[in-house]
């Protein structure tokens, strides 16, 4: 496999993706909502914490001792704000790489079939490996860049707006660092792997996208688990989830790689 050829595929696909507003709009809007709109509402609007604490009863009751320590000396309102900003919003940042990677990968794999450009691409002397790695890179790299940028913006914004309330920077925490640098890449790979498998079976970009966003289901499970205190993303949980994601990634990616075969792809052209 030649890296210059992998980068050639990456550059070509990135040029296409970056000029496609159907792809770029969700990739820009969703992170903006999570990293700017949600924390701003929480911190700038009076009563932005929701004004009630009944939903947090079970969460607060289930908090591990290590987290209870972080809440010592905080008022009820500050506690809710802290839990929201530091814990509840964290799994939302797994939606960013999952969504971005599956949207880009759908366009890159199934989109080429739909636009009938795939045959000309497969006719080139680029190997299956070079094509596949180039296309995985174009889904992985931008989604991780967006995730890191969102995390940076979120952290900066939260710290800047909450400094007066907490008298310290509350982010980043070890949980966030583990989520962004371990779970987020693993989630992005799941989104891509799932899309590669789905794209081999479908004929169009939209079908691939609709099926590959199934990745969002387990992440939403994490969001609700976090919200109700059923599964709090503390380091040990993050590491276990990471291990599970890695195993799932390897299995789905292996299935996807076996399906990425010139003849199989051509047979699905409309």
């Amino acid at each position: 496999m030649r890296i210059d050829r992998v980068l050639l595929v990456f550059r070509k696909d990135w040029l296409e993706v970056s000029r496609n507003w159907e792809i770029m709009v969700p990739i820009i809007i969703v992170p903006l909502i999570f990293s700017v709109v949600l924390p701003s509402m929480m911190l700038l609007i009076p009563g932005g914490t929701g004004g009630g604490n009944t939903e947090f009863g079970s969460l607060l009751a289930n908090l591990p001792a290590s987290v209870q320590v972080e809440l010592v000396g905080l008022t009820e309102g500050q506690t809710i704000m802290y839990i929201m900003l530091v814990y509840v919003f964290a799994p939302f940042f797994l939606l960013i790489p999952a969504m971005a990677s599956s949207v880009i990968a759908s366009d890159s794999f199934a989109g080429e079939k739909e636009r009938k450009t795939i045959e000309g691409l497969l006719a080139t002397p680029l190997s299956d490996g070079e094509l596949l790695v180039g296309k995985i890179m174009v889904a992985f790299v931008p989604s991780m860049i967006v995730t890191l940028l969102s995390f940076t913006v979120y952290t900066t914004l939260v710290d800047a707006l909450s400094l007066e309330t907490f008298n310290r920077f509350i982010l980043p925490t070890i949980n966030w660092v583990l989520i962004i640098f371990l779970l987020a890449p693993a989630t992005a790979v799941t989104g891509i792997a799932l899309t590669v498998v789905v794209s081999a079976r479908v004929k169009g970009f939209r079908e691939a996208q609709q099926l590959s966003v199934l990745i969002i289901v387990p992440i939403m499970g994490l969001v609700f688990g976090q919200m109700f205190g059923l599964l709090l993303l503390i380091p040990i949980v993050i590491l276990i989830l990471f291990a599970i994601f890695v195993v799932v990634d390897v299995i789905i990616l292996k299935i996807g790689l076996d399906m990425f075969e010139r003849e199989e792809i051509l047979s699905k052209i409309r």
């Binding site: 210059d4 050639l8 040029l15 000029r19 450009t117 045959e119 000309g120 006719a123 080139t124 003849e263």
Partner: protein
């Protein structure tokens, strides 16, 4: 020397046999036509020979490389114009060409740029090089698709309906390019077409296929002779009478003569070009008043239609 040697090439998709034991050779520098109705297996044959799909049976060598053992080498040596232009709409013409030139191994920037410019100028696309190809007309897209297929000066070129959607001037440009590539630069060209006139004009040999199997392979002249015999001589006279028929029927090499319609005599001769002056002279000497003289040649279309009709009845 053959650039393509196919031996018993077959491709099955489940119970459907798309290509059925094709065996043929295409010489270096030859323009070889693949003719056949829709769904006859032309595109599958090109996909097999350009290593996009693997044969179910049989083998082939393209540009000296085995399609099963060296698919990457084959793909490096061939250029393919697919049924669809395969142009990236969101990239400019130049970006499309850059991508394919690099993918086909033109790694030296100066050489790549000079080749791209040469082709874009040849196809009158240079002025539009920075425009996204999504804004191009069908003809412009087809020209760009051909430009990308030949950017690396492939030893063997597969063209699937190259002049489809082109205006007469662009279609002529492509025919000229094919002839130049074949005659001057000795590239081997295999092209699939429904345009029999174009095939007749360009191809040194053709293969007519139907349901994946070869019905006939040979030069255009071979096919004509095989199916219709030699050309006929048609002479139109003001009036036909027995004396004229008798005077010419006795001539050497005249196999038969009959009056097809009023005033039109048809001569069946071994070599109409050589014998026409003798026939005309005899008719005049016998008092015939000639209006016109034509040599009737069956076209490739006649051969094609007859072949495909025979097998379908």
């Amino acid at each position: 020397m053959a650039s393509i040697e196919a031996e018993g090439l077959s491709k099955r998709f489940g119970s459907l046999t798309a290509v059925d034991r094709l065996s043929f050779e295409v010489g270096t520098g030859e323009i070889f036509g693949l003719l056949g109705p829709n769904g006859s297996g032309k595109t599958t044959t090109v996909r097999l020979l350009s290593c996009l799909i693997a044969p179910s049976e049989g083998s082939a060598r393209v540009a000296g490389f085995d399609i099963l053992d060296d698919p990457l080498k084959v793909r490096e040596a061939v250029g393919v114009l697919t049924e669809n232009p395969g142009i990236y709409d969101r990239l400019s013409a130049l970006e499309n060409m850059e991508f394919f030139a690099e993918a086909y191994g033109l790694s030296v920037k100066a050489e790549r740029h000079s080749r791209i410019r040469e082709l874009l100028e040849f196809f009158d696309l240079w002025e539009r090089r920075d425009d996204k190809t999504g804004t191009f007309s069908k003809g412009m897209r087809q020209k760009l698709a051909i430009a990308k297929a030949v950017v690396h000066r492939p030893e063997v070129l597969f063209l699937d309906e190259p002049s489809a959607g082109l205006d007469p001037k662009a279609a002529k440009d492509i025919r000229d390019l094919m002839e130049r590539m074949s005659r001057q630069e000795k590239h081997t060209i295999v092209f699939c077409t429904h345009n029999l006139e174009e095939a007749e004009r360009l191809c040194s040999r053709v293969m007519i296929i139907r349901k994946g199997a070869a019905l006939a392979t040979g030069s255009i002249e071979d096919l004509r002779r095989k199916l219709h015999g030699a050309p006929e001589l048609e002479i139109q006279l003001e009036e036909v009478y027995d004396g004229l028929l008798k005077a010419t029927a006795k001539l050497e090499d005249v196999k038969s003569v009959y009056e097809r319609t009023r005033g039109i005599l048809i001569y069946n001769l071994d070599d109409p070009e050589a014998r026409t002056p003798d026939v005309v002279k005899s008719l005049i000497q016998a008092g015939g008043r000639i209006r016109s003289v034509n040599i009737l040649r069956p076209t490739l279309e006649d051969a094609y239609l007859e072949l495909t009709k025979e097998r379908s009845t």
